[in-house]
């Protein structure tokens, strides 16, 4: 991907990655992004779910939401996806850090009006959260589709930033009697909690079983 002035990683450039595979693999490993836009002269950052389909990200929400009302006017957005991989504990306070994989993206969000693309986009968001669930549930009807706004954001101006590995301390500090290393962090799933209103004898579905085996 072409570096632009906006996406070029200036701080610690060695952490910057611009190949599409790195960017997609980070986007595909999460489902929550933080999207920023300008609303009446001030910046707004809001968390929202997303789905990737090809070279686009899709976000969705109620037609009435302020975020989507603003975005569908075609204003510029910035979007960030961050995976926290670990706490990097150095011998000095200064060299403490975090292992992470993040993508920062710039673009203009477009309203999806084509019904087929809209449907595909909603499936992409669903697949992003839990693959196979879309095939198990009641799909959106006309009324629900009408009540949902979908925006499409091209992945054309993006960069990834990644930190891995142990802490890096100043040379003299390696002599200190301080434990140093990494505490790995990850998102984990607990046992599924059935809806109290679930009909008896309904077992956890395949998509959920599979989710736990990942």
């Amino acid at each position: 991907m072409q570096k632009t002035n906006r996406t070029k990683v200036k701080r610690i450039p060695v952490r910057g990655q611009y190949d599409i595979e790195s960017i997609y693999s980070i986007l595909d490993a999460h489902f929550l992004c933080h999207i920023g836009f300008i609303h009446e002269d001030y910046p707004v950052v809001i968390p929202t779910l997303y789905g990737r389909y090809g070279d686009r990200l899709y976000i969705h929400g109620a037609t009435t939401s302020r975020l989507l009302k603003s975005l569908q006017e075609g204003i510029e957005i910035s979007l960030s996806v961050t995976l926290v991989d670990g706490l990097v504990l150095a011998r000095s306070a200064f060299h403490h850090s975090m292992n992470y994989r993040s993508v920062v993206l710039f673009g203009v969000a477009q309203l999806v009006t084509d019904p087929e693309e809209k449907f595909k986009a909603l499936k992409a968001v669903s697949d992003q959260i839990i693959a196979g669930r879309w095939e198990e549930v009641r799909l959106p009807n006309e009324k629900e589709l009408k009540a949902t706004t979908v925006l499409s954001i091209p992945i054309h101006e993006a960069s990834a930033k990644v930190r891995t590995g142990p802490p890096v301390d100043d040379k003299p500090d390696y002599d200190l009697d301080v434990w140093a290393g990494v505490v790995p962090l990850k998102m984990t799933a607990d046992f599924p909690i059935p809806d109290p209103l679930l009909k008896e004898q309904i077992k956890v579905s395949k998509s959920i079983e599979k989710y736990y085996r990942q």
Copy 2:
């Protein structure tokens, strides 16, 4: 906390919380925020670590970073902290959701120039990540303090948004033979990985032991 036009939760208002305790408890449960600001007419969203001390959030970084260079000029920011608590799996695609706790905050970031406040702020960021670590490591020296920019953001215009509990489906859908419920998600820590350059016989420190007992 006073609701403003910017912080009032308009979509699903019942999820909005404005009391300081709810807002602080969400901020205190994480250490990573996404901060948005306007840079040369376009929005930028960047992930960064933070620490809360009283009614302020502190963020830090290299004096040379674009983010902090922009912010210290006193421009407006929006900041979001989001904790993902679970996937909400409904019987219909439309009613899928996420359980989460999030804070969205607006304000003007100010450069911290007072050395005492700067030190306190850096400790707050360290405590936010892992309590007690600050007391175990070599603290920042003059040179390191000079190389670090710290910004202070007042928690005066903020709101929380929280979703908990099972999915809510349309009445007729409760008859469907589809498993519904919540898959709880949380951030968990794996065993600490010692730095390959760690001196022999140094054991994991108290702060890290305590971190795992939480």
